[in-house]
Structure formats: C-alpha cells, structure tokens
Symmetry: C2
Subunit: 216 residues, 2 copies
C-alpha cells in the first residue's frame, strides 16, 4: 500500500488515527516514568478503552513491532511515537490575536514539549503592540507580511474574534503561511495545500451540555 507523504516524509494518516496516537503516547510516557519496560496492546486497550485490534492497526503505521507475548518496548515506542507525530521536531509558529486565549498559548510552555515554538504574536490593539507576552514579542498585524518574508514561519495560530477569522486566515496565507490552527468557532475556508486544524472549544461545550444528566 502506498501512502501519501508530507514534506517531512511522514505518512499522511487518517484523522481518527492521528487523534488516537497522542492518547497512546501520553499513557506510554506515564508508564515510562514509572520504569515499566514492556506493554502489550491488550494492556493499552484495557487502560484507554480502545479495541486492541485498533491499537495494533494504528501502531502498524510506525516503524516498530511488538514482540509476541512480551509486547512493545515502552521507551522505544515513546520515542517512535514522538518522532512520528512530529513532537520531537521544532516547529515555529505565530499567534494572531493576543486576547486571553492567545496569551495563554504564548505562556503555555507545555506546547514546547510537543514541538511547538511560538516566536511572535500579532494584534491590532495599541496597548499590547510592542510589548512581550510570556517572553514573546507582539507586533502590529499590519507588519505580518513583511515579518513573515523575513522569518518564514509556517504555522499561524488564530485566536482572533470570530468575525475576523476568515480575513485573518487569508492574510496569513497571503503572507506565505501554510498551516492554520483555528481556535475560533468560524469554519475557515482555505485553498488546497494549506493545513488546518480546528479546535473549537465551544463545540465541545455544546457536547457537554447535550450529554449532561444532572440529578440536582
């Protein structure tokens, strides 16, 4: 089977698989910190509530095989997963919209452990332009095209108000960015070749409200 590859020579995976791999990784990192050496897909299955056949299938995309009756070597699987997911590689990004969520992302050093390095923020608000948030400089959004020509960063994190989402995305793309992480609830339209991930926290809130079974 021939799978499509991206520019880092990684196989382009189905989204459900990519969503599950970080679950495995976080569980395996925990085992690793507890000095557990081997783990079977049955154990992972029991712990994470994913069918073990699914786990074996997901892990088959990786360059690693479990041993019969012993399972996977935990530390190797951790580094294999980190490589595979791109978490071991440094990816520079900018935050556009430095409100509370944007600022939080600029201050969240957890993202660095997942290969994300936020190098600049952009905003329209005079009170924040020229300052630093979490050690990261904030520029006027009008400077983005020139800044991008100089720095060539690929990833734009969009934490702007919803009614600015599409135009901000278009500015980032016109400036040469090729990946958008959209935190607004707006469904941004992008041309082919631009990667996009939507993290719509309000949609998740709707899921909670819909599923809630209060007994108050």
């Amino acid at each position: 089977m021939i799978m499509a590859k991206n520019n880092e020579n990684r196989t382009i995976l189905p989204e459900p698989t990519i969503r599950r791999l970080p679950w495995y990784l976080s569980y395996l990192r925990m085992l690793d910190s507890q000095h557990v050496s081997y783990v079977s897909s049955t154990q992972i299955s029991k712990e994470l509530n994913v069918q073990s056949s699914q786990i074996a299938k997901d892990l088959s995309f990786l360059n690693i095989r479990g041993k019969t009756r012993i399972g996977y070597e935990v530390s190797s699987l951790v580094s294999e997963l980190e490589d595979f997911l791109g978490f071991n590689q440094q990816h520079n990004a900018v935050v556009i919209g430095t409100g509370s969520l944007g600022t939080a992302l600029m201050q969240d050093h957890g993202l660095e452990h997942y290969g994300l390095n936020i190098v600049a923020g952009f905003d329209v608000r005079g009170d924040v332009i020229g300052k630093r948030l979490g050690g990261v400089p904030v520029y006027n959004i009008s400077e983005l095209p020139a800044w991008q020509r100089e720095h060539g960063v690929s990833i734009a994190i969009l934490t702007v108000p919803v009614d600015r989402a599409q135009e901000t995305a278009e500015l980032a793309i016109a400036s040469g960015m090729t990946a958008l992480w959209n935190f607004t609830p707006y469904r941004i339209k992008t041309p082919p070749g631009v990667a996009i991930a939507n993290t719509s926290i309000y949609a998740h809130l709707a899921i909670i409200y819909n599923r809630m079974q209060d007994h108050d």
Copy 2:
C-alpha cells in the same frame, strides 16, 4: 422517531451534528450583526462548505422551519440554536488545575457567552491557593468534596498534568460532579452517566504537523 432526552429536556444528538451546529451559529450571529434577515441552507452551505442537505438535516432537530424560496429567519435561528445548544442557560463549573491553561479559561470571558460560568478553581500549589485568578477564588483540591456538597456544581474542567488526570476525574466524580471537560491528553475512564468532552489540543497539533506541506 423517538430521541433520547437529557435532563434539560434537550434531545441527545449525534456528536458530528453537535460539532456542526456551533459553526452555523457563529456564521448566523455574524449575519445577524450585519442585519441580514434571511438565509437559505444553500447560502450557509456555500459559506461553510457543508452540504446543504446535511445542513437541512442538522437543523431539522430544531424547532424551526425555513420558508420556501426565502430560507431561515436569521435572528430566530440564532436564538433557537443558542437555546438548543444550551448557550442561553447558565452552567456553573470549576477549574481543577490552575496552570497557564486553567488560568486562561478562568480569565476568558468569552465562555460566559456560551453559558459557562466558572465559579471556583482548585489546585495543590500553595502559591495560588487562597488567591483569585480572573476574579475567581482558588481553593485547595482537598476541599473539593466539602465545597461541592455545599455548591452542587456539575461541571469540572480538568487542566491538571496528564499523570493526575484519572485520579482528579475520580475525585470530581466521587464529589458528585456529572460532567468533565478534559483538556489533558489522557483518555479518562468514566462510569456511565458522566458526560465527558475531550479537548486534546496536542492531538490537533499532531494533525497540523501531519498535514503540513512546507515549501521552505
């Protein structure tokens, strides 16, 4: 067709539908702010890149009908969607783990427009316990069961380190909470009757890395 209902007498919907409804809402709110009176599912389809038959099906769960050749009345559809999604109702919540992400959520007044009212934070760190973050008091996690008996809040937002995710979820559930919003990459196991939504931002990062096609 008989649909299951939750305690607020809302129909329990398939997750993909719940994920799309907030897209429609954010677009419709924008139209409403531009004083647009009517919109057809074809227009919504074109704007959001969702098939119009899918839109009609999703909106059929609501207590509203479009008019032939005119479409949906924008302002009615906005308030119908807000009611339906639970965004017009106030839901109290606590944040457990007041690191950078937890603090950001406590300070993000955007959530209030979606019916979420964060009333307390809980942590283990002595330097934040007893303080206020974004106007919200932070308590020692050991006080959660007693606090919860008094206040009866349903929703716990989990922004703890990944290796504390499961035990924190169990404490929240044992304290009587019935809904968890999990921001850790850990796949928490919950008993039946507990609502859970997973917002794993690191998984979304993996999707971006995997889809990126740089031309640097």
